[in-house]
Point group: C2
Chain length 280, copies 2
Amino acid sequence: MQVVTTIAELRAQLDPMRREGRSIGFVPTMGYLHQGHAALVQAARRECDVVVVSIFVNPLQFAPSEDYESYPRDPERDRGILAAAEVDFLFQPDVREMYPRPLLTQVSVPELSATLEGRTRPTHFQGVATVVLKLFHIVGPHRAYFGQKDGQQVAVVRRLIEDLDLPIDLRAVETVREPDGLALSSRNVYLSPEERQAAPCLHEALLQGREAALAGQGSRAVQAAIEERIRRTPLACLDYAAVVDPRTMQPKSDLTGPVMLAVAASLGRTRLIDNLVLEL
Amino acid sequence: MQVVTTIAELRAQLDPMRREGRSIGFVPTMGYLHQGHAALVQAARRECDVVVVSIFVNPLQFAPSEDYESYPRDPERDRGILAAAEVDFLFQPDVREMYPRPLLTQVSVPELSATLEGRTRPTHFQGVATVVLKLFHIVGPHRAYFGQKDGQQVAVVRRLIEDLDLPIDLRAVETVREPDGLALSSRNVYLSPEERQAAPCLHEALLQGREAALAGQGSRAVQAAIEERIRRTPLACLDYAAVVDPRTMQPKSDLTGPVMLAVAASLGRTRLIDNLVLEL
């Protein structure tokens, strides 16, 4: 695995490969890798000739009050994981390489970014859209891999790709979970032992919502089922439970076709999210 | 010259050429071509292996009150001009090919878009930035050619390319003028004979501004010199005269380094713009 820190060097490496007709798979990450990232890398490895992983904690997608400074980092360990997973290139730029001048260009998908996560994190998806578009231009991948755990991010990036005619195939990879159902997340490391024990309530809540949906209940009842399970968990504080269209992120009242059940809750100072997509 | 109307077909044509290492030059236009466009095509022909010209009147960059419907069109004549100029591909999509679904993604460079043209056309450069980015993704050019006549557009696209790490070399090509100094523009066709006769006042005003600047006068005096020449023209109605940094479009008080003198005026119902970039 080659570790590359500059845009120019990465292009110099990838351009000849692209000309040879080799397909490039790209997995953008913020590091502190876990088995969820590993699943993305494995999918890329399976489907592409060349696998590029980026590690960049993007300041633009954190609000000033959020955990940009304290976001967990372990570059040594990350490199070991990626080398073992037979990644070809690790792109690990610093902030000055990615933002060498004031960023005057704004990229956003407001309609998909205002709901759910956007209500508590109003600037988050603009930061995501911007850095993902920059990374797409830098890497020039044929396929890009994102975890379904961040379902709204998948929707935003998918729409960005469609609206802007990017020649990239977005691959959403199923959420990887702990044995007790907790979705893997770099932020799980923040949880105290008690909070960790309570954390599977998000997944359990989604399963209750799914049960209600499969039983033919309406969207309000499904949402209530999710909420009820979170409220029964003393350590958990519900942020939202929602029943939305997985492409538009708009509330879905008619429960047919694809439906996304989404939940966000805080355990102590750690905010977790999870979702399930059903085909009804 | 091949005429291509779909994105898929254009990609199918260009991808193998890109893989062969041939350089692609791209000239985006709204058609109704004149010698200014021809100069862009000639520059592309000189510098690139493959030349792609697009003709697309982009509804997104017209306000509802503007001339989208009546914007002059002459596809037959345009094709003849481009074929004679040895263009390889004319990309001529219709509106449904470019906007097949509601566009939810927004791309803009607000700080460069609010001044000058942006004051009377507040949504114009967001439309330009969006369609140019889409076309860049569709064509995948190595170099893109824009006329310096639209100086603010050049600044917006240049910043878009820099901020988003697009691997594209922007080439700004000098304004082509009629013998009497009038900058070529597709909108010149709107001018009545009397208005046409008065229209060189924009260029003359800029020359007066340049004279003042070269004589060491300050930016207010330079601006006043431009304004004065327009005001002396009975048929012309001044919109703005400005002395700005050609990269940031912000007013420049210290007249050293590169300086852009810009002017906009209406002759009857036709609004014309022009600019000069000086190195002081």
